[in-house]
């Protein structure tokens, strides 16, 4: 079976800056892939490439390819790609305010997606809109559909954006930090609702986040990006139980947990390098506690981590399997 979204050895540049270097990942139907990394690691750029929107930001593919449902995006016409977005690929941005038109009622903004992509009549589109809003647990959906964006809370606005993404009955949802701008109690609701809908409808979800807690809670698989390269990927269970890449382990160790002794919360020293000055060899080596001179000299290949099928990691000194 072909994956819904298959990114193969993708390299992307903007001008002279080579921002993504050989990134591969795939999302199957009914599956949630978490794409994690610090700011500047290339998460959003990967999403932009997956939607065929690189030209909008002046980027270009310099190697590899993106396949949607088996078809190479680069070999489609712009009209075909436009037909995919909204209809087969739904997108949820981090900040709902930038995704909504401030001078159009929110219900109409959802209606227009199913009228355009599914050819529904005005009345049928509205019925569908109200139904979607109800599934997203918006109380009194028919009344809220008549509201303007500024009348809604941040959590409510983000639900409207998710309803817009769902309205075209897409096969794949790409969500870029969908809950980062929301309050914690609302974040928990939205993540659960989104995860539940994806599984129920057999869609795929590419969930971009910096929060390893969110990944552990809802994702099936995870891909860890660092400075434009894949550091580690695989099923969520084994990776959280025993991360092979020191960067993955460090990201997990950044989250405060119950019962942590004072001083035991670990950060990652230094900062993500700029694409103008990526370090030689493994790009994480200047920040890595396990780095040796080898790490600066050679680029570590992506190699199987532990047992067969348990994912891959790009590290010369993988962490030993815990327990």
């Amino acid at each position: 079976m072909t994956a819904l979204l298959q990114v193969t050895d993708l390299s992307v540049a903007i001008g002279a800056l080579r921002l993504l270097d050989g990134v591969s990942l795939s999302v199957e139907r009914g599956q949630i892939l978490g794409l994690v990394g610090e700011s500047g690691s290339g998460k959003s750029l990967t999403a932009t490439a997956a939607m065929g929107l690189l030209p909008l930001i002046g980027g270009r593919v310099t190697g590899g390819a993106v396949y949607f449902d088996g078809r190479d995006l680069a070999r489609m016409s712009e009209a075909e790609r436009r037909g995919l977005r909204g209809r087969r690929i739904g997108f949820v941005t981090q900040n709902p305010m930038t995704a909504l038109d401030p001078v159009q009622r929110v219900g109409e903004q959802i209606d227009v997606v199913s009228r355009l992509h599914l050819g529904l009549s005005k009345a049928a589109a509205r019925a569908r809109t109200v139904d979607l809003m109800t599934q997203l647990r918006i109380p009194e959906a028919a009344a809220v559909a008549e509201a303007w964006p500024h009348q809604l809370s941040g959590g409510m606005k983000q639900r409207i954006v998710i309803a817009m993404a769902l309205a075209g009955e897409p096969d794949l949802i790409i969500a870029d930090e969908p809950t980062t701008a929301l309050d914690v109690t609302v974040q928990a609701q939205i993540i659960q609702i989104l995860g539940g809908l994806v599984r129920e409808r057999g869609m795929g979800l590419l969930l971009i986040t910096h929060d390893m807690g969110v990944v552990a809670q809802v994702c099936d698989r995870v891909a860890v990006l660092y400075a434009g390269r894949l550091a580690e990927d695989g099923a969520v269970g084994p990776i959280f139980a025993a991360p092979a890449h020191p960067y993955t382990a460090a990201l997990i160790g950044c989250i405060p947990q119950d019962g942590m002794a004072p001083g035991s919360l670990r950060g990652i020293p230094g900062v993500v390098p700029s694409a103008r000055a990526f370090p030689s060899g493994c790009r994480f080596h200047p920040r890595c506690a396990r780095a040796t001179p080898d790490c600066a000299a050679q680029v570590p290949p992506l190699a199987p981590r532990g047992a067969a099928g348990a994912g891959r990691a790009a590290c010369l000194h993988m962490l030993p399997e815990a327990g």
Partner: protein, 315 residues
Amino acid sequence: MSEPLIRIQGLSRRFDTGGGFLKAPRSMMAVRDVSLDIARGEVLGVVGESGCGKSTLARLVLRLIEPTSGRVRFDGTDLTALKPAALRAARRRMAMVFQDPYSSLDPRYTLAEVLAEPFVVQGQAVTQDRLAAMLAAVGLPPAMLGSHPHQLSGGQRQRVGIARALALSPAFVVLDEPTASLDVSIQAQIIDLLSGLRDRMGLTYLFISHDLGLVRYFCDRIVVMYLGAVVEVLDRADAAPRHPYTRALIDSGFAPDPSRRRAIAPLAGEIPSPFSLPPGCAFAGRCPRASDLCRRDIPALSAGEDHPVACFHPL
């Protein structure tokens, strides 16, 4: 027992808006009748979601904004009664670190100018050596003194914000979401730095955050706020919550452990508008334990079995 460094008594702040053409004036209580002590050397956390009044409380404590009623005593002095000149003198011993290190540093200033400003305001001279030492104390190389903020990463900027706050050797520092706009990997560095500085300089912190996990990790005591009022004061970071809202906040955090996946019973609804609060407990509309009493009367913050909680039906 020595007197607390900060004593907050019955502090309230009302904001009024509107009252323009065809618009009725409206008002809201951003902070409602808050009383708290902060002991010397303590890290007191204040946690809550947007609109709970935590940032307004932080600004009231430093008297950056004026209270509608109530008092703040700092080391025995009533800040709320001070005249401007005396207040400026008192402020040498208090400081604030802001959430967004991108907007809290003037982009035209060099770091040397940023760090010299507190001395200029207080009419004091400062040497280059002193400025270099201030940078070193927050883990930045003295060579950065000539840099501008745009040349720094977010974490480095926040270090500069901390160095500026500590310029005049304050006793008390308000930290308003100091890591909220940083990557989680950088957050731990900043928390480590703050923790070391507290030990070295004997500082007292008021730490404002929306992240209960972080507050439980870093703070000695925790104040939980909801819509302007204190709903619970946890005496220890690991104390069991008694208010249903505190419980919900804890349950909303995702542990980075897929084997502990759980269905979160999400809180019904969202935070009501502070301009039109229902009568009774402000949390009643979202609370699984709410009764008619909760929808009618406002529960007072009273000493519960082990710590203060404002709830008619505590856990």
